[in-house]
Subunit: 251 residues, 4 copies
Amino acid sequence: MTLNQQQTSLCNDNPHDHSDLSAVIINTTLKRDSSKSHTKLLLDVAGDIMEKNQVSVSHIHMLDHQVAFGVQPDMTEHGHDRDDFPKLWKTISAANIILIGTPIWLGEESSVCRLLIERLYGMSGKLNEKGQSSFYGKVGGAVVTGNEDGIKHCSMTILYALQHLGVTIPPQADCGWIGEAGPGPSYGDDADGGPVGFDNEFTQRNATIMTWNLLHMARLLKDHPIPNHGNDRNAWDAGCRADFENPEHRR
Amino acid sequence: MTLNQQQTSLCNDNPHDHSDLSAVIINTTLKRDSSKSHTKLLLDVAGDIMEKNQVSVSHIHMLDHQVAFGVQPDMTEHGHDRDDFPKLWKTISAANIILIGTPIWLGEESSVCRLLIERLYGMSGKLNEKGQSSFYGKVGGAVVTGNEDGIKHCSMTILYALQHLGVTIPPQADCGWIGEAGPGPSYGDDADGGPVGFDNEFTQRNATIMTWNLLHMARLLKDHPIPNHGNDRNAWDAGCRADFENPEHRR
Amino acid sequence: MTLNQQQTSLCNDNPHDHSDLSAVIINTTLKRDSSKSHTKLLLDVAGDIMEKNQVSVSHIHMLDHQVAFGVQPDMTEHGHDRDDFPKLWKTISAANIILIGTPIWLGEESSVCRLLIERLYGMSGKLNEKGQSSFYGKVGGAVVTGNEDGIKHCSMTILYALQHLGVTIPPQADCGWIGEAGPGPSYGDDADGGPVGFDNEFTQRNATIMTWNLLHMARLLKDHPIPNHGNDRNAWDAGCRADFENPEHRR
Amino acid sequence: MTLNQQQTSLCNDNPHDHSDLSAVIINTTLKRDSSKSHTKLLLDVAGDIMEKNQVSVSHIHMLDHQVAFGVQPDMTEHGHDRDDFPKLWKTISAANIILIGTPIWLGEESSVCRLLIERLYGMSGKLNEKGQSSFYGKVGGAVVTGNEDGIKHCSMTILYALQHLGVTIPPQADCGWIGEAGPGPSYGDDADGGPVGFDNEFTQRNATIMTWNLLHMARLLKDHPIPNHGNDRNAWDAGCRADFENPEHRR
């Protein structure tokens, strides 16, 4: 019963076909056990809407994997014993939609979220056959939960990084829940009257709008890919070199 | 001679028709005299590319106007003697593309840039005939210059605000120039070998890619507007009230 | 009755003498009428604690003054007809404590707050007789209110700017109040059980701790000024020039 | 030869005694081999100045240790097989000065830096014998390097987190080096005329001022601890509970 009646009706009445789209939903919670993640509960609203519209959804719980620190595509080639990122990249690179969820700790996205962004950044030197960043054609969004303060700060970071990589950000591409300043329950914690935040119409509305905009924009970009006139990176030197540490300046 | 040879060639060879598009380029420099603005010089790269492709471009130099502080559509209805924003809004609301330029002072966008964002925010309660934010269908980008440090921080703020309002952010929708840490010339200042930054291929490449992506995405959204299934705000109450100070919660 | 019983008791029992200290409390609300500012209500907690301890407190309501845009000490020397900042600077430069209050709009500090920071930045080329920034010896804090989300983001900006200028930031130098995600009352708005936030013990605790830490640190720095060994800017060239736009690089 | 002549002279001529102070310098680079870290080269300027003044300096290269994700003091008590943080905490908690160095990736501090901040945050429920956060009495600073853009954004995050925890931030407590926009060398990379940035007087000046201010303020706080009148957290309930996930709300 993740979706409320209004969210369910919208799925039932969807006049658009999204069944050929795929999405990856990545949870960067600090919880190793995904069932304890509050962020997951709000990510699930988006995921369930997508699945009800026949979108193929992959879920990645980052801490189920051993992703190495670094900004190279495969860190086992740079001294690390193990790196699960290349496996995750297969899923991510195949998706039309990238949705990143993060908790807020001390007002910021999690370290795991930054690790994910660093590894995505590590892929930014790769171009598609049209000379565009390989992230072109994808759309992205952000889901943020905490018990107080920081949704916009975290979303800003995530959405900025995604657009920098080549992802398109549709309108109103984030949502979140926080409580009043001070200690208190997190999203989905039990309280009188049911799980906290589930009946916050603002949060539910924004989660819904975000999800549908991700679907609409993914549909649009799949049907009408961004032309490469003017954005073909092969046309520019821009000081790039094969041996650069900085991934976006590699070629 | 704002555009270099490569930028000019791309305009000459453009296989797409952008002649029915309009753009507004807003400079939030602290310079009252626009001819002294370094930010303007980089904004002009984008503006000239657009104009060479027959886009109808309006330029707003914020400090040429007296825009009142506040978050209501017309602050003369709230005690201010004068407010030029309603006049500017006519131009902004008619544009397919919103490009905001800011200088960096102490690592942040200018106060004038925040004033602009607050006033745009003041319009966020207005919905189009489909119940979407009236910013839907627009695309946005950011141009940032300083003499050291802060492009991404400022872009992040601007692009986040725009997407929050309902603007679509295409891939790689920002560009900028800064110099090495410490004092030094600003973009376009004279130095040996010509104006500083004009030959920075990275800055010129990013300005070019940004501009073309704004054009491509504006084309796409004009031809294929974002459907309103799932993002019709009239379908939600979400606690909105006519008398709310916060513009996005007004109805 | 701004202070609660605990806050009042602390003032009554203060074993320290703060009567020779001065503070300036600057409200950067977008409200022209200070009596309508929610931020003022939380600033008053800090102000009242200070006054009860015989600190000399000056209040500046920024929008009562016409402060020009720019980064020069006196903008009337740079083409502006009027600039009230030089007058305000007399008050600010005389204070041991600078406390800045801002509302949150779209997740950020107000444009008026940025205007203030730009003008303070415009004074950063001035050195004291020991060659230190003229802000040395001052301590600073931030008070942030909104109806949802953004305390830390705004505080971060304000406190960073202050330390950059030469102000010392004591522990836990900020406080704020926001409500749950979504529309709702602002700090001090009437609700069942009294003004919203006044009984939020977390907000009141943090306001209290912040204020006392500002007092303790101001006491410390007045009695034991920061030596100038190693921070005398006259000992460095660092590329500074009299004609630089950037205030911190002027000499 | 880390220190230039001016930096060396200041150490030789130091009229103050800092020999009873201790510092921990924490490098959050993504490089596992500390000898490859550019950030380390600038951290060493600060470290060498401290050591020349007989400060006891501990160096932590975060990636030499296996620090678990989470916000509890010891994550082995919460399901992790290994967690080196408790060992690091012994060093950190004993230091008067905490200096954090980070590289910039996509405009932000590293994931390792956020991991460190999360773990420090995990200690924020601990109070000293005066009821203050156990970080009281410490002073903190930030060192940031990248090849382009982001010093202030990263410093802002680090310094805000430190003051939130209870650390005092002295004036001008950060420094950094970045190059012009676009790809290029990192701090210390070989170029014509020697390692890049070593002769940037602005960077060297700021590193020097930061370091001396850390020393001066640590001296001050060791000799004159912050009184606990008004900041004794035991005096407040503020909704804290022993079982809270959020470390600052635990008791």
